[in-house]
C-alpha cells in the first residue's frame, strides 16, 4: 500500500462519485449490457455470505462470486423472460453515498461506499443495505471496475429472501 503522502491523490472524489452514480443508474434502468461493459476482463463481482461478511467469497459459501464469464451469463439470463424471479422486472432505486477513496496507485484506486437499495415487486418493498468495495482502473478519463464487492449489512436475507437482480 502506498501511503497517501507519497502519492498525492490525483483522483477527485467527485469523479469517482460520478462514475458510481452512473453505474447505479444503469442497473436501476436495467441497462445491464452497458453495465457489464464497465467491467474489465479479469473482473470479479462478489457478495459474501451474510454471516461471513469479511471472508473470501471464493473460498466460502458466499452468495455471489462471479468472474467475467459468469457475470456475462448472469446478465444474459436476467434479460430473458424465463428468469422468472425477475419477470416482470423488479423496480430498484439505489442511493450510493459515503464515498471514500481508500488508496490509489498508478494502476488502480480502491474505493468504498455505502448503499441503500429499495426494491419493489408485486406490491412489496424490500430494502437491501450495505457497503460496496471497489477496485477501479482509470480508463479514458473515467474508470473500469476490476472488482466489485457488495457486503450486506444484514444478518440474514429475511424478509428480502433473494438477490435476483444486480446488487
Amino acid at each position: 500500500m502506498t501511503s497517501l503522502s507519497e502519492t498525492p491523490s490525483i483522483t477527485t472524489r467527485s469523479a469517482v462519485e460520478e462514475f458510481l452514480f452512473h453505474e447505479a443508474a444503469l442497473i436501476d434502468r436495467w441497462r445491464l449490457e452497458e453495465w457489464l461493459d464497465l467491467f474489465t476482463l479479469d473482473c470479479t463481482y462478489e457478495v459474501p455470505a451474510t454471516d461471513r461478511p469479511d471472508a473470501d467469497p471464493g473460498l466460502t459459501w458466499s452468495l455471489i462470486h462471479d468472474g467475467r464469464t459468469m457475470l456475462e451469463q448472469r446478465v444474459i439470463r436476467l434479460k430473458k423472460p424465463e428468469a422468472h424471479a425477475e419477470f416482470p422486472h423488479s423496480q430498484t432505486s439505489r442511493i450510493v453515498g459515503n464515498v471514500q477513496i481508500l488508496d490509489e496507485t498508478d494502476e488502480s484506486i480502491s474505493v468504498t461506499a455505502n448503499f441503500i437499495i429499495n426494491r419493489a415487486k408485486a406490491g412489496k418493498f424490500d430494502t437491501y443495505v450495505g457497503r460496496y468495495d471497489y477496485d477501479l482502473v482509470p480508463r479514458n478519463s473515467s474508470f473500469m471496475i476490476r472488482r466489485k464487492r457488495a457486503v450486506l449489512a444484514h444478518d440474514m436475507l429475511d424478509p428480502q429472501g433473494k438477490i435476483s437482480f444486480i446488487i
Binding site: 451474510t50 459459501w61 451469463q73 429472501g161 435476483s164
Partner: protein
C-alpha cells in the same frame, strides 16, 4: 378440527391429491409443531461446524432455540437456549467459542455442558437454584450419523438409525467422498420465503419443474459446454438417463439420475475428482464409486432435511416454518476434506451459480413457491393440488412425483393417523455389500 381429509390416494385411478388447506391453515401448523417437529428427528448441524473444544453455533430447530456445541471435554452437546430463571436466551451470538454461557437478564451462568454454576444473590434463596434446577435442558434425544447431528424432542421416538433406515445410504454417498471425510464450508445461506415449508419440501425433490423453471440455467450450461440434467445418454448402475424416484420408510425419498457434464472444469479439477473417485473405488468398490460420482441425487430426510448432490456441488439445507405462509431456510455447502484450493474454488463457483438466494436457479424456485402460496388464496374454489405424475409406473422417472407422494403419506400418517400403503420398493443404486462394514 374434525376428520378432514388432507390426502386423496386413489390407487384405482392413480390419482394423488393434497388438500391446499394443508399449506394455509395455522391450525395445521400447530399440529405439525406437535406431531412432526415435536416427534421426528430434526437436523441441528454437522460436527465440522464446531471443530474445537468450546466451539458453538446457535440454531433454531423446529421452533426451539438451541446451542449446538462442544463442551470443555470436546463432547458434542445440544442445549436448549433458554434460561431456567425466566426464559431469556443464554447465548445471543450465532457462533463462537465459550466455556460459560451467562444469561444477561439477571446473570445466571451455565457451564457449556449445561450445569448452572453461578447465581448472583444466591444467598437470598432458601433452596439454591443450582440444586433445584441443575442445568440447561437438552432435547430428549440427541444422536448423530456420519457427523450429522439430529435431535428429537420425543423421548419415546425410535432411535435415529432406525428412523433413517436405508435412506441413510444416501448420507453415506456424501460422507464417503473423501477418505478424510467431508466438512461444511464456512458461510451459510440464510433466507426466508413467503410460502409454506411443505412447498419447499416438494420443490427440493421435484424433477418435473427443472426444465420449465431452470430453463435459463440449462441454456447457460449448454453455452458453457455441459449437458443439463436428465438429457444425457448414459445408464449408471441401472439408473437410466431419465433417472428414477425411490421411496423409503418414514417418508424419506430420493430422486436420482446420471450426473451431467461439469461446466468450466479445469484439468486440475478433473484430476482431483478422478483422484477422489479412485480412492472411493479402492475403499468401497467400483459400483459404489459409480453411484457416488456418476449419479446426481436429491434426497429428503423427513421432515425437512435436504441433501442434493449435483456433482458440481453438494448442498445441504434445512428449513422450519415461521408461520403457515413463511419459511426460514438455512443452506450449507459440503466439501470433501483434503482437496486443493483450486478444487474448493471450482466447487464454490459452480455451486453458487445454481444455488442460494443469489444463484441463477434458487430465486426462480422461490418465485414459483411464492406464486403457489398466492394461488392457494383460491382454495375455496380449487381445493386440491395434484401430485399424481408417474403414479402406477413400475419405475417412476426422476421427473415423476413418487418422492413427494411418499413424503406426503408420512406427513398424513403423523397428522391424521391414517396409514396409506407405499407404492413400491426402496431402491439403493449400489451393491451394499461391504459398505456397512
Amino acid at each position: 378440527m374434525t376428520a378432514e381429509q388432507f390426502v386423496i390416494d386413489d390407487r384405482e385411478n392413480n390419482l394423488f391429491r393434497v388438500n391446499r388447506e394443508a399449506f394455509t391453515s395455522e391450525d395445521v401448523l400447530q399440529r405439525e409443531r406437535k406431531e412432526i417437529f415435536g416427534k421426528t428427528w430434526l437436523y441441528v448441524g454437522h460436527e465440522s461446524e464446531i471443530p474445537g473444544k468450546n466451539d458453538f453455533q446457535t440454531r433454531d430447530v423446529g421452533g426451539r432455540p438451541v446451542i449446538f456445541n462442544r463442551d470443555r471435554n470436546g463432547d458434542v452437546r445440544v442445549l436448549l437456549n433458554t434460561c431456567l430463571h425466566r426464559g431469556s436466551s443464554v447465548c445471543r451470538h450465532s457462533s463462537g467459542n465459550a466455556k460459560i454461557f451467562t444469561c444477561f437478564y439477571h446473570g445466571w451462568a451455565y457451564r457449556n455442558s449445561g450445569e448452572l454454576v453461578n447465581v448472583p444473590g444466591n444467598e437470598d434463596y432458601k433452596s439454591e437454584p443450582a440444586a433445584v434446577y441443575k442445568g440447561l435442558k437438552s432435547p430428549a434425544q440427541v444422536d448423530s450419523y456420519r457427523g450429522l447431528y439430529f435431535v428429537n424432542f420425543d423421548p419415546d421416538a425410535p432411535d435415529l438409525l432406525t428412523f433413517l433406515g436405508e435412506a441413510r445410504y444416501f448420507i453415506d454417498l456424501a460422507a464417503d467422498q473423501s477418505p478424510e471425510g467431508v466438512a461444511i464450508l464456512e458461510g451459510t445461506h440464510k433466507y426466508s420465503l413467503k410460502a409454506n415449508w411443505k412447498l419447499l419440501v416438494e420443490n427440493s425433490i421435484d424433477g418435473y419443474h427443472a426444465k420449465s423453471v431452470h430453463h435459463t440455467y440449462f441454456e447457460m450450461m449448454m453455452e458453457l459446454g455441459a449437458t443439463p440434467p436428465m438429457l444425457g445418454q448414459d445408464t449408471v448402475n441401472g439408473v437410466a438417463p431419465a433417472g428414477m424416484g425411490t421411496e423409503f420408510p418414514n417418508g424419506h425419498a430420493t430422486l436420482m439420475y446420471p450426473a451431467n457434464g461439469l461446466p468450466l472444469a479445469t484439468d486440475s479439477v478433473k484430476r482431483t475428482l478422478a483422484g477422489l473417485r479412485a480412492q472411493a473405488e479402492q475403499a468401497f468398490g467400483e459400483n459404489y464409486a459409480n453411484a457416488m460420482f456418476g449419479l446426481a441425487r436429491n434426497s429428503v430426510f423427513f421432515p425437512s432435511l435436504i441433501l442434493i448432490d449435483l456433482s458440481f456441488g453438494l448442498t445441504l439445507r434445512t428449513f422450519y416454518p415461521v408461520s403457515a405462509s413463511e419459511t426460514l431456510v438455512t443452506g450449507w455447502q459440503i466439501i470433501p476434506k483434503g482437496v486443493d484450493e483450486e478444487f474448493v474454488k471450482y466447487r464454490i463457483n459452480n455451486a453458487l451459480t445454481f444455488w442460494g438466494p443469489a444463484g441463477l436457479a434458487t430465486p426462480d424456485d422461490v418465485e414459483a413457491l411464492e406464486q403457489a402460496q398466492k394461488g392457494f388464496g383460491a382454495r375455496g374454489e380449487i381445493g386440491w393440488s395434484d401430485v399424481s405424475k408417474g403414479m402406477g409406473k413400475p419405475v417412476p422417472a426422476a421427473n415423476d412425483e413418487l418422492q413427494m407422494r411418499s413424503w406426503w403419506r408420512e406427513w398424513n400418517r403423523r397428522i391424521t393417523g391414517e396409514q396409506l400403503p407405499t407404492e413400491g420398493t426402496s431402491f439403493v443404486p449400489f451393491d451394499k455389500q461391504g459398505v456397512d462394514a
